[in-house]
């Protein structure tokens, strides 16, 4: 199996970085011909999960990493807090709701899109 092609965006861990992260994820998805509904969902998920990471205040920088294979695109926020607060949990729940069945991934600051079916 071929290694995923990885795209990494490193950002200051501030609120103003979130819009750029959405643009980054959207651009990668559109370059793989992902339908706009799914792009919209991914923008919401990355915005929610990145907000959790930024509000954690434990790092000056945060990375948004997109691992692309022929069949999937997995987006991950790093670092991501292991013990989110209540409000952060609401954000994680929204990210999980956007991509059903990926609750455990959302808890870890990640979500995946099946490119073949998108």
């Amino acid at each position: 199996m071929a290694e995923p092609q990885e795209f990494r965006l490193e950002l200051p861990a501030v609120a103003e970085s979130i819009a750029l992260a959405r643009l980054f994820v959207a651009t990668i998805l559109r370059s793989r011909s992902v339908v706009e509904d799914t792009v919209s969902d991914a923008k919401l998920a990355v915005s929610e999960l990145l907000s959790v990471a930024i509000l954690d205040h434990n790092s000056l920088d945060v990375s948004v990493i997109a691992a692309v294979t022929s069949t999937s695109i997995t987006v991950r926020i790093d670092p991501f807090p292991s013990a989110p607060g209540r409000r952060d949990q609401e954000r994680i729940d929204i990210a999980a709701a956007v991509f059903p069945g990926q609750g455990e991934m959302a808890e870890l600051g990640s979500f995946s899109i099946d490119v073949a079916m998108a």
């Binding site: 609120a15 979130i18 919209s40 919401l44 929610e48 930024i54 609401e90 929204i94």
Partner: protein, 121 residues
């Protein structure tokens, strides 16, 4: 009377215009609402008399996450507690999708057009 309040270069992602239509205060929101721009959104919403009829027209909102949703929920609750009313205008799109995911469509006053929002009290 039309009173335009527009943010400057600092918040290019979000613009908010305020006007009145009869007894209604209208906030026209355009752009993206997230952790960075929600404080600006909240400031404008909070600047409206809680006992009045407020219409937040989000027809030109291209993105909103839960940070913006919290502003709407808080404004709705304040209005309800003070004899006011919050109406949200949003056609099918990112705003209504988020409202649907979180289940708040059931109790927020959401309309597809401004005409419907201002006609309903």
């Amino acid at each position: 009377m039309f009173d335009r309040i527009r943010q400057g270069q600092m918040n290019q992602q979000l613009t908010i215009d305020r006007s009145t239509l009869g007894d209604h205060t209208i906030l026209d929101i355009a752009g993206e609402i997230d952790l960075a721009t929600a404080p600006q959104f909240e400031e404008h919403v909070a600047g409206v008399d809680v006992g009045s009829a407020l219409v937040v027209d989000m027809s030109n909102v291209t993105f909103m996450d839960s940070t913006g949703l919290r502003v709407l929920i808080a404004a709705h609750e304040r209005a309800e507690e003070n004899g006011g009313r919050l109406a949200i205008v949003a056609a099918e799109g990112p705003v209504t999708k988020l409202l649907g995911i979180t289940g708040v469509t059931e109790w927020l006053n959401v309309y597809t057009t401004r005409a419907l929002a201002t006609a309903d009290g």
